[in-house]
């Protein structure tokens, strides 16, 4: 778990860290569109430049991003190999056997796929490394606000998400304690075959779930005692403010997008 970089937050003080989470979230979504727009070397160079620029601005060392890719490497290799072996005929054919074709077209395409994967992973890693989970939740809730008009309980969902995030470390601690208590009683975690390992999780999951339910009940009582009636009729202490740096970031992104649209092969 500890070498799983994707989804972790790295507290640093950089422009990227200080950006409005809504700006970052939206940008990360649109970035994926940007990546799929690129289809020739020049347009890829523009994206790579944009991505490296963002990473540099975040002051996070490149090593973190490479580590972030590691757990996903097999997925990437698998996709790239599929693309390489089974792409439609086009250009020079290097190798042909039954339904397997390695063509010039396939080779170039699989190279692009590889770069696309890399870029998208790097950008989403940048999002999670530079934004606290709570800010991501607040940003998501804020972006989902228009859904209120179609009766989606956005505020309640935001409250649930924020409470869930707040209890992640508490329950992790609890799980650790239970595991130690069970180890002291002779349970082996992570030993033996798959079935045995799964079985050894039962003495962990049962008490963990019981405690989570107890906590939930306590918490709901405490929330009610503190005047919580529903999520719709509340004021907000934590608010997000769109600032100049957010606008500037978006201008840079739009320029990059325009440059890609101009240079890509239509």
């Amino acid at each position: 778990m500890s070498n799983f970089i994707f989804g972790r937050y790295l507290p640093l003080n950089s422009v990227v860290h200080r950006l409005d989470p809504r700006a970052k979230l939206l940008l990360s979504f649109c970035y994926i569109g940007l990546v799929f727009m690129a289809n020739n070397p020049v347009s890829y160079l523009i994206i790579i430049a944009f991505t490296l620029g963002a990473i540099l601005a975040s002051k996070i060392s490149l090593g973190f991003f490479l580590k972030g890719i590691r757990p996903l490497i097999w997925l990437i290799v698998f996709t790239v190999v599929l693309q390489l072996l089974f792409s439609p005929v086009g250009g020079h054919v290097y190798f042909h056997w039954a339904f397997v074709n390695i063509t010039q077209f396939g080779l170039v395409n699989s190279g692009y796929i590889f770069i696309r994967f890399l870029l998208i992973i790097m950008m989403s890693t940048l999002l999670t490394l530079s934004t606290q989970p709570l800010d991501i939740a607040t940003g998501l809730a804020s972006l989902m606000k228009p859904l209120r008009w179609v009766r989606v309980p956005v505020d309640t969902l935001a409250m649930m998400l924020s409470i869930a995030l707040r209890f992640v470390p508490t329950l992790m601690d609890e799980a650790n304690k239970i595991m130690n208590a069970q180890r002291a009683r002779g349970v082996d975690f992570g030993e033996g075959g798959l079935l045995k390992q799964a079985k050894s999780l039962i003495p962990l999951m049962v008490p963990l779930f019981m405690s989570a339910f107890n906590r939930a009940e306590d918490l709901s009582t405490a929330m009610e005692a503190r005047g919580y009636q529903d999520s719709e009729h509340r004021s907000q202490y934590r608010i997000l403010t769109w600032q100049r740096r957010d606008t500037i970031t978006w201008i840079i992104f739009v320029v990059a997008f325009a440059a890609i649209l101009a240079t890509r092969r239509w």
Binding site: L134, R166, D218, T221, G227, S235, R238
Partner: protein, 279 residues
């Protein structure tokens, strides 16, 4: 003195057909500004009583009046305006993602405008001495610190009554002392009426008056000095003896006579080791 809380013939059953009610015909009053301790065994009904006062459990028989308002399903939110409650488990009442978010939680529920919230939250956090922790997440705080944040949440709302529902029982001795000192201070500055539900002798001793509850009924009511003059009976009342005394009592029950002159935990440990190596 004016009564801030009046309870008349309160009976509560967790199940409608329960032959033994959790609270059985309980009546008492709380004076404005006093510190009332409620002691009793586990399962004696003292927490049920505390929750009933805040309208967290719907009772069917009896009457509760808080600050002149009779508690009914219609007035329950008005009554909760007047009462701040702190519960036993520091973790399970920390709602916000950080200290300041948590202190703001009660104010958000009351739909206070943000411009008013900001200074209030800041002042409340400062009041409990947690200013340098304002941005911290609960996982980086100790139990005692979390309970102080809970107190800050109460200070921000400024209720008339503070109910401590075994609020110090999960804290270490130092955290417990600090918390009680803080409650004492806040009681003066915020003009609070304090009701503390407790097992802890020290906490009960601070009170002006002690109610003893057993099996859902009020069995005694007196000043702490009168109650604690009863010595061994404290255990029957559901108060905790010091740990070494409990250990000695348990040893005696098993027919082992511990030395009468050993007092502290360290000496007791030493004695236990010696007796173990002798057998």
């Amino acid at each position: 003195m004016e009564n801030i809380i009046e309870v008349k013939h309160l009976t509560y059953r967790y199940q409608a057909d329960d032959p033994r009610p959790a609270l059985n015909d309980v009546s008492f009053t709380v004076h404005a500004g006093e510190w009332l301790a409620i002691v009793g065994h586990n399962g004696s009904g003292k927490s049920t009583l505390a929750k009933s006062l805040d309208g967290l459990l719907p009772f069917t028989t009896g009457e509760i009046t808080v600050g002149g308002i009779q508690l009914t399903p219609e007035t329950v939110w008005q009554v909760r305006e007047k009462i701040g409650m702190i519960f036993q488990n520091p973790d399970n009442q920390f709602v916000g993602a950080t200290v300041e978010d948590d202190v703001a939680f009660g104010l958000e529920n009351r739909q206070m405008p943000r411009t008013e919230m900001l200074p209030r939250v800041k002042a409340a956090i400062a009041r409990v001495g947690m200013s340098e922790f304002a941005q911290r997440e609960p996982s980086s705080l100790s139990g005692g610190q979390k309970q102080r944040v809970a107190l800050a949440g109460i200070v921000a709302i400024a209720p008339d009554v503070l109910i401590l529902d075994e609020a110090t029982s999960m804290l270490d001795p130092q955290g417990r002392r600090e918390m009680l000192a803080l409650v004492r201070e806040l009681r003066q500055t915020q003009h609070l009426t304090v009701i503390s539900i407790t097992h802890d002798i020290d906490e009960a001793t601070i009170a002006d008056r002690v109610l003893v509850i057993d099996d859902g009924q009020l069995v005694d009511e007196a000043a702490p000095a009168t109650i604690f003059a009863q010595g061994e009976r404290l255990v029957e009342l559901g108060l905790d003896l010091p740990f070494t005394e409990k250990l000695k009592a348990a040893l005696r029950q098993r027919g082992i006579e511990p030395p009468a002159d050993y007092q502290g935990a360290a000496e007791m440990e030493e004695w236990l080791w010696q007796s173990l190596s002798n057998t």
